[in-house]
């Protein structure tokens, strides 16, 4: 499953799959090492979320999300929640920014380090169990919650 590079939160590791930029820009980006198959790390988001510093090899470069959103990657260390199959248990590794979004999660009792059980995952909605409580989240939200599958 491919996701856009700019959707990954800080600390994510991913493998580049596709670079979909205009020719000139693509040549530049490729020359900097953004080549399919290579590992990329999300180092730092700017204070206002955009741009982001990425690390590729020993090279750190800042990209705006307008460019990063044209680079498709496969997450390595964690995946967005909506990719988790039913029945799995996973641990929340990272959350994307967004004050309202984070507040909402806090109300559900969801935070980094929490364990989640996926009860249902179909038709664009995901039903999860957190601390014995059951919640339903939409696909949009679920793509901003990054988890590591543990069983």
């Amino acid at each position: 499953m491919l996701i856009k590079l700019d959707e990954l939160p800080e600390g994510s590791v991913a493998v580049i799959e596709k670079v979909d930029l205009p020719e000139d820009l693509k040549e530049r980006i490729l020359g900097m090492g953004f080549i399919p198959g290579r590992r990329i790390e999300v180092v730092k988001k700017a204070p206002l979320v955009d741009p982001t510093v990425y690390k590729i090899g020993n090279f750190r470069v800042s990209l705006r999300s307008s460019e990063a959103s044209k680079i498709y990657v496969k997450p390595v260390n964690h995946i967005p929640l909506f990719l988790c199959p039913e029945g799995t248990v996973c641990k929340v590794n990272a959350l994307a920014y967004g004050r309202r979004f984070l507040n909402e999660l806090a109300r559900m009792g969801l935070d980094v380090g929490k364990k989640i059980r996926i009860l249902r995952n179909n038709s664009g909605k995901i039903t999860i169990e957190v601390d014995g409580n059951i919640h339903t989240v939409g696909k949009g939200r679920a793509s901003k919650i990054f988890v590591e599958v543990i069983e």
Binding site: E23, K26, R64, E67
Partner: protein
């Protein structure tokens, strides 16, 4: 014998530092990508030969997009140098080798590969098998450090050696791509062979660039070969192949570092680009910069002032009387009033040098980029604006790195609103005379200048250019501890212009002003200078500037410091030779004093800046536009300050 050598490489790998070490020049260096934007030449005599080095702007690939990259690429591909030196950073050899392969494809000249910053690589425990690389690449490899000057002589030796070798011996390494790519290359090569006009071209390179979708090359060849099929995704395959080879070389010949060289940098970044405190830290840094400029320099300035007072006292007793007046009021009064600010300006440049050398520039651009996005420009422009606090000329030059001509024009026409160091004397004189807390007034005017620049960007975007924000791709260099020697060179390089100006344009205008104030009547009140000032005084009726100020403003068009020197001469040549600060206090109040500061901040960039605008845009039109535009903005803003200020006080 004379040997010409081109120096190229990725940005920020130390090309200019090495160039300086090779030639004894003192070109600008800084720990951020894009410092060098023009070709620079230097010489070294080595074992009976004259080596001419050409330092080029940095570039990641040969697919040049911005002006600085085009300069580098043209020199590599079409330049008439004898030898090309490709410089790479020992800690990011990956990118260095990638560029090396491109250069080897593009040129038939001998190439030498230099691995710089070897001092840092050693500290990190990285071991590079130089001979192994030499054998694999079939070209000489030299390890250097611009810091310790290690390897500099060896590089010169290698240049002689390569030059004297017959060209048959210089079989370089040529990268073979995978079968599919090679076939596509050969197909285009065959097409090119049919056309006469490509006889002198390196066909393989043209073919590869075509496949990579290089817009310039495509333009060149589609005229003769209109229907070319370029297989999809071949661009990515080419890059992959290059990187594959790069990583094989690295695996075989370069050891991993024993610890993460980025540890410290990451820790520093954690603070300086922090989600919440990143922006406040940036503002605090700016504030401190100007605070220190004012505070530390104050006692130094006082002693310079005392020295010139003493000197003027001596010369004022010379006869004849007119000569005494020319010397003490005109020259010493005028030029001396400017030299008083030498400490401020040198300290300001010292601190700017510090920011540049640490690597903070890229971070500042990163932190504020989002704001720039709303202005439809990028963090790149922001670096030009920061440079503008020093001097507008290099700031305007630095816009060459922008790929988007729209962004470039908007930036270079707005840079003059950033308060350069030449405006500092005016601010300090006025703020010191009229405000209880001059430091805050100073920060106020700098802040104001940032606001005006922002507004100018918005206006220019609206006026001329409609478009989407340009991309922002900038490398984050690792932090470095600045070397004091480099900082002193930086400070001297930039500060010396100020001294040169004092000896030229300021001196001349001081003499002219003195003449105008002495003749025809021998007293200032009825002089030509007074006449001139009174002529345009009505324009500033609301501002209530006296004629001395308006005369000074006219002369200040040449260079902003001249506002101060002219004023000093005009005041000094009065009968009773009153005190400069005292006179200012009597003729201005805090409100119109601030309006004067605002006017000087914004009105007509100095001659040097105007000339740069003309040469960088290649058109007189933009220069004239800049003159009218800045005067208009300066006038309106200062008017607003006066009106609003009076209303607030009343």
């Amino acid at each position: 014998m004379k040997i010409d050598v081109a120096i190229c490489g990725n940005p920020n790998v130390g090309k200019t530092s090495l160039f300086n070490a090779l030639t004894g020049s003192r070109q600008r260096v800084g720990n951020w990508p894009g410092v060098t934007v023009a070709k620079k030449e230097g010489y070294r005599y080595w074992k009976g030969h004259e080596l001419k080095f050409v330092d080029l702007p940095g570039t990641y690939t040969l697919g040049a997009q911005s002006l600085d990259e085009k300069i580098a690429r043209d020199a590599i591909v079409n330049g008439d140098e004898d030898i090309v030196v490709v410089i790479s950073d020992a800690l990011s050899l990956e990118r260095g080798l990638y560029l090396l392969f491109q250069v080897l494809e593009a040129t038939s000249k001998p190439v030498i590969f230099v691995i710089n910053a070897i001092d840092e690589a050693r500290k990190a425990g990285i071991v590079i098998d130089k001979t192994g690389l030499e054998v694999s690449l079939n070209i000489p490899v030299v390890l250097t450090s611009a810091l310790t000057e290690e390897g500099v002589d060896e590089l010169c030796d290698k240049i002689l050696e390569v030059y004297s070798k017959p060209s048959i011996d210089q079989r370089k390494f040529i990268l073979k791509y995978n079968e599919e790519i090679e076939q596509a290359i050969q197909k285009i090569e065959r097409e090119l062979e049919k056309e006469k006009e490509f006889d002198s071209y390196n066909k393989r390179w043209i073919a590869i660039k075509t496949l990579e979708g290089d817009s310039e090359v495509l333009q060149l060849i589609t005229k003769s070969i209109p229907h070319l099929e370029i297989p999809e995704d071949i661009q990515i395959e080419i890059s992959s192949d290059r990187y594959q080879l790069v990583s094989n070389l690295l695996k075989n010949f370069v050891s991993e570092s024993s610890y993460d060289v980025w540890n410290i940098s990451d820790a520093i970044d954690h603070v300086f680009t922090h989600k919440y405190i990143g922006i406040p830290i940036f503002l605090a840094i700016l504030y401190m910069m100007f605070k220190i400029t004012f505070d530390i320099a104050a006692p130094l300035s006082d002693s310079v002032a005392a020295f010139f007072d003493w000197l003027a006292n001596i010369t004022s007793s010379i006869s004849p009387r007119w000569l005494a007046s020319l010397l003490s009021d005109g020259i010493i009064g005028g030029v001396g009033s400017i030299l008083v600010f030498v400490p401020n300006i040198f300290i300001l440049f010292f601190m700017m040098g510090f920011l540049e050398e640490t690597g903070y520039f890229s971070r500042a651009a990163f932190v504020v980029d989002r704001f720039m996005y709303y202005l439809k420009i990028s963090g790149r422009s922001f670096i030009s604006f920061i440079l503008g606090f020093g001097c507008s000329v290099p700031a305007i030059m630095s816009t060459r790195v922008m790929g988007d001509p729209r962004e470039r024009l908007v930036t270079l026409l707005s840079v003059p609103f950033i308060s350069c160091s030449a405006r500092l004397p005016v601010y300090i004189l006025i703020a010191g005379a009229l405000f209880k807390n001059p430091g805050n007034a100073l920060f106020g005017i700098y802040f104001f200048s940032i606001i005006v620049t922002t507004v100018s960007i918005l206006i220019l975007n609206k006026l001329f250019f409609k478009g989407t924000p340009s991309p922002f791709i900038i490398e984050m260099p690792r932090y470095r501890m600045p070397v004091v020697k480099n900082l002193v060179i930086y400070m001297w390089n930039n500060g010396k212009h100020f001294l040169q100006k004092a000896g030229t344009i300021i001196l001349v205008s001081a003499i002219v002003i003195w003449f105008l104030s002495y003749f025809p009547a021998g007293n200032v009140e009825n002089s030509y200078a007074a006449l001139l000032g009174k002529l345009i005084q009505p324009v500033f009726k609301v501002h209530q500037f006296d004629w001395r100020i308006t005369t000074s403003l006219i002369f200040g068009i040449s260079a902003k410091e001249v506002v101060v020197s002219s004023y000093a001469t005009l005041v000094g040549s009065q009968e009773d030779s009153p005190d400069l600060v005292e006179t200012l206090r009597n003729s201005l109040n805090p409100v119109n004093a601030f309006a004067l500061m605002v006017f000087v901040m914004a009105y007509v960039p100095c001659f040097a800046t105007l000339a740069t605008i003309k040469s960088e845009t290649g058109s007189l039109k933009y220069m004239l536009f800049s003159i009218v535009y800045t005067i208009l903005i300066a006038y309106i803003l200062s008017l607003i300050v006066v009106v609003v200020g009076r209303a607030l006080i009343a």
